[in-house]
């Protein structure tokens, strides 16, 4: 049990909470701020890194991920200083993956080479759409031609390049999406994150939706059709889904995100970052101050953490299953059982199997291609 995290590995997540503007669909912890004293932020990150490292001595780091917000607004020096602190604190795995999320704007792209020099070896860019009017509707500040230029620069700078697209957008037909996806694949990415637009409460889209003013979103059937088309097209292009919304060429999966989905340990540093960390015999969920200002001040005083709660065996088992069933490799039944101390409900698995939604073979439980798009339903069946 205390060793369970080793099945997933060990990663470090660093949250940069700032953006140039807030996108109307985004419910992440992001803020627009005029001037940011990056030196002060470097000190706070480094202090938090040292605090976390003191608790996890001797661990080997498999991945580092700069997420946001918009981490490509970080100065090259900031990224470089953080990475050098991390290097002093933990041993790096030989194949460590260091990812930075980037906006494909022209200014950001100028920093790509610097990031690479600092140690970043993978970049994940938020393209979101491949036509300018839709980019505008999504509140994006870049254009398609900037995206493509950034892609070219990124390819020169990093070993691995991924980009994101959002589909099931307003007034987007299944055919529109298929065309756009094929165009995206023609750029020959090694990794793609393809997200269905989700309307979240508390976002500008959420407010408009609740007021009945967000029109033209696809119904459940059309959205299912888009999902299945996505699977087929990517599979045929050599980028099969390895997770609900993520596609990769063989070996190009995001190792960092695999730590989440394989339920490893990860440290969350920065405003609003969550972590899962095994200390002694217990596994903890950690949270930090959401507000950048509060986090900064708290980190300077000693810790940015606001909450550390012990995860019960049941909590861990539930989290493991809901994360791992997202993967095409599925879950290890034995691991679930040793976490929860209980068996998965066999009859329910048989029923879901009969419906063609899951497959249990040997020690693994997997969602089928038909099951993955209704994963929430499957989890409700299995866990409630």
């Amino acid at each position: 049990m205390p060793e369970d995290w080793k099945n997933g590995g060990f990663g470090l997540y660093i949250h940069w909470p700032f953006c140039q503007s807030k996108c109307p669909y985004c419910d992440f912890n992001s803020h627009v701020a005029a001037d940011i004293d990056q030196t002060r932020w470097i000190r706070a990150y480094c202090s938090e890194i040292r605090r976390s490292a003191a608790e996890t001595p001797g661990r080997v780091l498999n991945s580092i991920f700069f997420g946001g917000g918009t981490p490509s607004l970080m100065a090259v020096d900031t990224v470089s200083a953080i990475l050098s602190e991390v290097r002093d604190c933990w041993t790096f795995a030989n194949d460590i993956e260091i990812t930075l999320e980037a906006n494909p704007g022209s200014v950001e792209a100028q920093r790509f080479a610097g990031y690479a020099k600092a140690g970043v070896n993978r970049i994940s860019m938020g393209f979101q759409a491949l036509n300018d009017p839709d980019l505008k509707r999504l509140g994006r500040l870049h254009t398609v031609s900037e995206s493509l230029k950034a892609l070219e620069i990124a390819r020169g700078a990093f070993d691995r390049v991924s980009f994101d697209l959002i589909y099931a957008r307003q007034d987007q037909s299944v055919e529109d999406w298929k065309r756009e996806l094929k165009q995206a694949l023609s750029f020959d990415p090694d990794h793609l994150s393809l997200y269905q637009l989700t309307i979240e409460d508390g976002t500008a889209f959420g407010d408009r939706y609740n007021a009945g003013k967000l029109k033209g979103l696809p119904e459940e059937d059309a959205s299912a059709e888009m999902y299945f088309a996505t699977q087929d097209i990517c599979e045929n292009a050599g980028l099969p889904a390895y997770e609900v919304s993520n596609h990769a060429q063989n070996g190009q999966q995001s190792r960092h995100n695999l730590i989440y989905w394989r339920y490893g340990d990860y440290l969350g540093i920065g405003p609003g970052a969550h972590g899962r960390v095994t200390l002694g015999k217990a596994r903890f969920a950690t949270e930090t101050h959401l507000s950048p200002a509060l986090w900064l001040a708290a980190a300077e005083r000693g810790t940015g953490e606001t909450r550390r709660s012990t995860l019960s065996r049941e909590d861990q088992a539930v989290e493991y299953l809901m994360m791992s069933l997202r993967l095409s490799e599925g879950s290890e039944i034995g691991r679930y059982q040793s976490l929860s101390g209980q068996d998965l409900p066999e009859q329910k698995i048989r029923d879901l199997d009969k419906l063609g939604l899951v497959k249990a073979d040997g020690n693994r439980l997997r969602c089928t291609a038909k099951g993955r798009p209704v994963l929430n339903g499957i989890l409700r069946e299995l866990l409630t």
Binding site: V244, S245, H274, A285, D315, R326, L355, R380
Partner: protein, 599 residues
């Protein structure tokens, strides 16, 4: 002990919202019966639900001392009666306990159906009736027109109707004076054996069962041993009091007086409204006429949402039943809903009141199944039994015929909505008995099957008339009709709690409406779900709820784990509110909503 000539006993008859409670409050206030600081609205309605809905469910009384213009002080006893058809019997007993009524009509609205039903009860009880026109301070008041309407529709003289505004207090002294000068004093013989009517009873947490009585003959004193003539039970009188409206002890009550007693009676169930109370020794020979045991007419199943709360529900129902003799219950098992109770009620309001009290006072969330009436099932072997639950319908091959209860419904409605009302009644298998006009308001009388009314008739009536119709009914007996049991199958399994009795000619239409409704009420599952309506083995309507196609969180990374796990925990709690039927989860509200017709 008060001289009979100085007593006036009266009730107030009014349609809901016409100002009955406000007038009562004003009479109490203006005579100084209750100190100003203790005044509150709807003083005589003590239950939360009475105050909230502005209705009276339990009878109450108040003794008012009024120094009249003739220089004498009179004792005025007001009995506040329930105003709803469900409690018609209780109302009739309260009416028998007084000699006169104030007929309160809203001068801006006119006579309504409920006014009629109650005023006829007052007329049946030989009351002297004083018409009172309320709300005359409002610009829309038309006292002359409404007085005319009272004469036309009810047939009583309204030429000297008292014009008041209970809200502002205008005309209240005239009402008090009219009670003294126009209502008769009670009659009775002080020297005859004790004969008192049990008007109502209730449970008081401090005093136990409290019985409201009206003494007809003789005198009752504290310490007397009294006998309930219906049950034969004998009790010693512990306490005798009058209500002002709080209890004030009194040594004795003589003829014409109204008061309350306590007598170590354990349960309200041991007291029968309308029973005659006399002395154990040297009692009266004959009981007062008109006693009727309580007779439930509407039945439904009550099941706990959380099946673990069954025992709590049993406790709550038993406690409520102790305080309400008109409510019956027996255990029921449903394949769909588990353990619960089949309960009988005096009518729909009574049903709602009980359900509301169970949820509110005992904190138990309930699933209510479709209300049903009592059918008379005549078997081929010549026997007859009463069917309370459609799920118990016997095999049709053994049934000779069926009879269902019918009602006489009186509906008053502005004539622009008349067409819609006639259509509604026609759709509900009604037979028109009468249609008359009083000004621009029509009064229609229909003979309707009760089973077409118990569910959503009143809601529909309100909606098609934008709330302008008023409605009242009385039971008129049973008649044969072509009724069949319609079953609902969800995922090929019959859901007993959704079975209903329907008229053969309307079965297909009802079945279609129900399966379509259920399709919207049951959430999509992982598999497709056929929903069917069937009579016997024959499917008459079918819909298919398609399987869920897309329900997955697009983004789920390290920061989402906690939120997602908590969401699952919440769904786990939500699932408790569903009933699993075979493999299908049916939300609790579906059991009632499925029956609502949006015709």
């Amino acid at each position: 002990m008060t001289d009979l000539s100085k007593i006036r006993n009266f009730s107030i008859v009014a349609h809901i919202d016409h100002g009955k409670s406000t007038l009562a409050d004003r009479l109490i206030q203006m005579t100084g019966t209750v100190a100003e600081r203790d005044m509150k609205q709807q003083l005589l309605d003590s239950m939360d639900i009475e105050r909230e809905r502005g209705i009276t469910i339990k009878a109450n009384s108040v003794r008012i001392e009024y120094p009249a213009k003739d220089g004498e002080t009179y004792i005025l006893n007001l009995i506040d009666t329930p105003g709803h058809v469900d409690f018609a019997y209780e109302v009739s007993r309260s009416m028998k306990a007084v000699e006169g009524s104030l007929l309160v009509v809203d001068a801006t609205q006119g006579v309504e159906a409920q006014t009629l039903a109650n005023v006829y009860q007052a007329i049946d009880a030989d009351h002297e009736i004083v018409p009172v026109l309320n709300k005359i301070d409002l610009p829309a008041a038309e006292p002359e027109r409404v007085a005319e309407q009272i004469e036309d529709v009810i047939g009583i003289d309204a030429s000297d109707a008292v014009e008041i505004s209970a809200k502002t207090g205008i005309g209240i002294p005239d009402v008090l004076e009219a009670i003294v000068t126009r209502l008769p004093s009670p009659e009775g013989n002080r020297d005859a054996p004790l004969k008192a009517m049990l008007v109502d009873s209730w449970y008081d947490p401090y005093l136990g069962v409290v019985v409201m009585i009206r003494v007809m003959d003789g005198v009752i004193k504290k310490g007397d041993r009294i006998k309930m003539m219906q049950t034969g039970a004998v009790y010693p009188v512990d306490r005798l009091a009058v209500l002002k409206p709080e209890m004030q002890n009194i040594a004795e009550l003589g003829p014409g007086e109204i008061g309350v007693l306590t007598a170590s009676i354990k349960q309200v169930r041991d007291t029968r409204v309308g029973d005659t109370i006399t002395h154990d020794k040297k009692g009266c020979e004959t009981a007062l006429p008109g006693f009727k045991p309580a007779q439930p007419v509407v039945f439904c199943g009550l099941f706990p949402v959380d099946s673990a709360e069954f025992e709590d529900l049993r406790d709550a129902i038993e406690k409520l039943a102790l305080n309400d003799a008109s409510f019956s219950y027996e255990m029921e098992t449903s394949a769909a809903l588990g353990f619960g109770f089949r309960c009988g009620f005096l009518g729909l309001l009574h049903l709602e009141v009980i359900r509301d009290r169970l949820e509110r006072e005992y904190g138990i969330e309930l699933i209510t199944t479709a209300p049903s009436v009592i059918y008379h099932i005549y078997m081929k072997d010549g026997s007859m039994f009463e069917l309370h639950n459609p799920a118990d319908m016997p095999d049709l091959s053994k049934v000779d015929h069926l009879e269902e209860p019918r009602i006489k419904a009186t509906i008053m409605v502005p004539d622009e909505y008349l067409g819609d009302v006639l259509k509604l009644c026609q759709d509900r298998r009604g037979i028109q008995l009468d249609l008359t006009y009083a000004g621009t308001r029509a009064m229609v009388v229909y003979d309707l099957p009760l089973n077409e009314v118990v569910f959503d008739f009143y809601d529909r009536l309100k909606s098609v008339t934008k709330g302008y119709a008023s409605f009242d009914y009385q039971m008129i007996g049973y008649s044969e009709d072509q009724l069949v049991k319609m079953s609902i199958l969800v995922n090929d399994e019959p859901v007993d709690a959704l079975s209903t009795m329907v008229h053969r000619a309307r079965a297909e239409m009802r079945g279609r409406a129900m399966v379509e409704k259920l399709k919207t009420l049951i959430p999509r599952h992982m598999f497709k779900i056929p929903i069917q309506a069937a009579i016997g083995g024959k499917v008459i309507a079918r819909e298919t709820l398609s399987a869920m196609r897309k329900d997955v969180t697009a983004k789920c990374y390290g920061g989402d784990a906690t939120r997602k796990r908590k969401l699952l925990d919440k769904q786990k709690a939500g699932k408790k509110k569903m009933r699993q039927f075979g493999k299908v989860d049916i939300p609790q509200e579906a059991f009632i909503s499925a029956l609502k017709m949006d015709d």
